[in-house]
């Protein structure tokens, strides 16, 4: 469904992505991990169109994305949430979802907004102001909700669990699994919590210094010495899996 080949991103003197190449199939769930600064968010930015790569190919279902602005990619079916939630100001939660739905890829079914509100447990906050009246978990849920409302086929989630405590993480994880199963989406999830990734994604990509250093099942990947070294600086086994 999505293919990257030789994607390179330079910011001034820094090479954020060196030469990324991989493919995602329809409905696949992939975890994206790596130390901070590895280029994970940059990769998302390239796919969603916030950043233009300096080199490489980027194809989505046969169409090259390189010349398309972000909003056209959204309409093709690429949804993305941001690590730091950016709710639409002076709008209610429901209005946030309505805007996303109106401009997104999908068929504009009015029930979908209610479904999303239910899945993400936002029903009782539906008419509250999205910027001022939500708790952190709800902010994160809304971020996912906005991306979902566009009816994507590929959902990019950037550290949705960051900042939540353990029980909150588990609950959210269950909701994410429900989302994936309900809408049969492909998902790429950036996450630091190895347990979450292992539970949710049958395939994991590891990024370090802008390069993909591992691509496989969580088991295989987290035993890979290269991966362990990137996290801890040593090649001894970590308590990763």
């Amino acid at each position: 469904m999505l293919t990257l080949e030789g994607v390179q991103v330079n910011f001034g003197g820094v090479q954020a992505l060196k030469s990324a190449s991989f493919s995602i199939a329809e409905g696949e769930s992939i975890g994206l991990v790596g130390p901070n600064g590895a280029g994970k968010t940059t990769l998302f930015n390239v796919i969603s169109g916030v950043v233009r790569p300096t080199a490489g190919r980027l194809d989505f279902r046969g169409t090259s994305l390189l010349k398309l602005p972000e909003w056209k990619r959204a309409r093709l079916g690429i949804g993305r949430s941001f690590q730091i939630p950016r709710p639409f100001g002076h709008c209610t939660v429901r209005e946030n979802l309505l805007v996303a739905q109106r401009f997104g890829a999908g068929k504009k079914d009015p029930r979908r907004v209610d479904e999303i509100l239910d899945i993400l447990n936002l029903r009782d906050k539906a008419d509250r102001d999205a910027t001022t009246e939500l708790a952190l978990t709800e902010h994160k849920a809304l971020e996912v909700g906005k991306a979902l409302a566009t009816e994507p086929s590929l959902l990019l989630l950037d550290e949705v669990l960051a900042g939540l405590e353990t029980s909150g993480k588990r609950a959210f994880m269950e909701r994410l699994a429900a989302v994936r199963d309900r809408y049969r989406l492909a998902m790429v999830i950036i996450e630091h919590d190895i347990a979450t990734i292992a539970a949710l994604c049958p395939r994991v990509l590891v990024l370090n210094f802008g390069q993909i250093i591992a691509d496989g099942s969580p088991d295989a990947v987290f035993r890979d010495p290269e991966v362990i070294r990137s996290y801890t600086g040593e090649t001894t086994l970590a308590e990763a899996s």
């Binding site: 950016r86 639409f88 100001g89 209005e95 805007v99 996303a100 401009f103 102001d129 991306a147």
Partner: protein, 318 residues
């Protein structure tokens, strides 16, 4: 404003005012001038509130609209009503030249538009064969008689400009309430976040600029045919920028009818009260008003006058 109040006010405006003031050309003239300002004020508020861009050069659209309409009517014999609409189109087209300015931040955009206004003014002064140069155009065709009603006199003019203002305000309101309006509101703080859900943000901003230009152009064109005279200094005068801004800020540019109320209030008070006192420099009061509003009630007078529960107040934005 709720429906009933709106209909009542419109009834008074369309029927009551002509009946009461119909014979008094002076008062009607003042009201028409105030409504002309109101029209530009609504257009300015639309761009500022929905588009998120404050412009200091709306006189550009006013002038281009005036000249386009006048020239079409005088040199090409286009019927006046059609010419007026084409004046708006002309202003809209001129705004396309300003599209690159949309990527600029607040102050830069505001002054880039001002630069355009100066440029158009100088062009109007120099293109003498077409625009009559510095001397301007005289005897611009007035509005014709339609269905037995002479639109060329003061009452007719009043009805025309009233309709323009009402339509503009309704359009502004309609956009504001739609998902487009929500998206535009969201774009102010988080443009990238709106883009990734599919909002074509640049196109929306451009649409607001073109619409604002169109409305202002139509109002300018109306004015040209109403007073039947035009010259570059008048058509592009900074008054067409300053007064609408003062009106919109005073009345509340985040509301739809605020600019209209503000224009009527400010213009009439300025002409009837301050001008006799200070023949030179009475516009100083506008400056005082602007400053006072910004310092004490940036949302304008109308939101300040409304007594609403806290929840609704939040939605008084846009």
């Amino acid at each position: 404003m709720n429906r009933i109040l709106l209909i009542a006010v419109l009834a008074v405006a369309y029927v009551g005012v002509p009946v009461v003031f119909g014979g008094n050309a002076y008062v009607l003239g003042l009201i028409v001038a105030a409504l002309t300002i109101a029209g530009v004020a609504v257009a300015w508020a639309l761009l500022g509130n929905l588009g998120g861009m404050v412009s200091f050069g709306h006189a550009a659209f006013f002038g281009v609209g005036s000249y386009t309409s006048a020239v079409l009517a005088m040199k090409l014999g286009v019927p006046v009503f059609a010419a007026m609409l084409l004046g708006g189109v002309g202003a809209a087209i001129s705004s396309i030249a300003m599209l690159p300015a949309l990527r600029l931040r607040g102050p830069y955009f505001a002054l880039a538009i001002l630069a355009y206004a100066h440029i158009f003014q100088i062009l109007a002064t120099e293109m003498t064969p077409v625009t009559g140069g510095a001397g301007g155009l005289l005897s611009i065709p007035r509005f014709p008689t339609v269905l037995g009603f002479d639109f060329g006199d003061k009452t007719g003019g009043y009805l025309i400009v009233l309709t323009i203002v009402v339509l503009a305000a309704l359009a502004y309101d309609a956009i504001r309430r739609s998902t487009w309006g929500l998206a535009l509101k969201a774009m102010h703080d988080t443009e990238v976040a709106t883009r990734v859900v599919g909002v074509p943000s640049t196109h929306l901003k451009a649409a607001m600029l073109v619409l604002s230009a169109f409305i202002t152009g139509v109002v300018g064109a109306f004015n040209a045919h109403f007073i039947s005279f035009l010259d570059p200094d008048y058509a592009f005068s900074s008054g067409w920028t300053v007064l609408p801004i003062a009106a919109a800020i005073f009345g509340g540019y985040r509301t739809v009818w605020g600019p209209v109320v503000g224009a009527l209030a400010i213009y009439l008070v300025d002409q009837l009260l301050f001008k006799p006192i200070l023949p030179h420099g009475h516009q100083m009061i506008l400056g005082v008003l602007l400053c006072a509003m910004i310092l004490f009630s940036p949302g304008g007078l109308m939101p300040a006058l409304r007594r609403r529960p806290a929840k609704e107040n939040r939605h008084a934005h846009a």
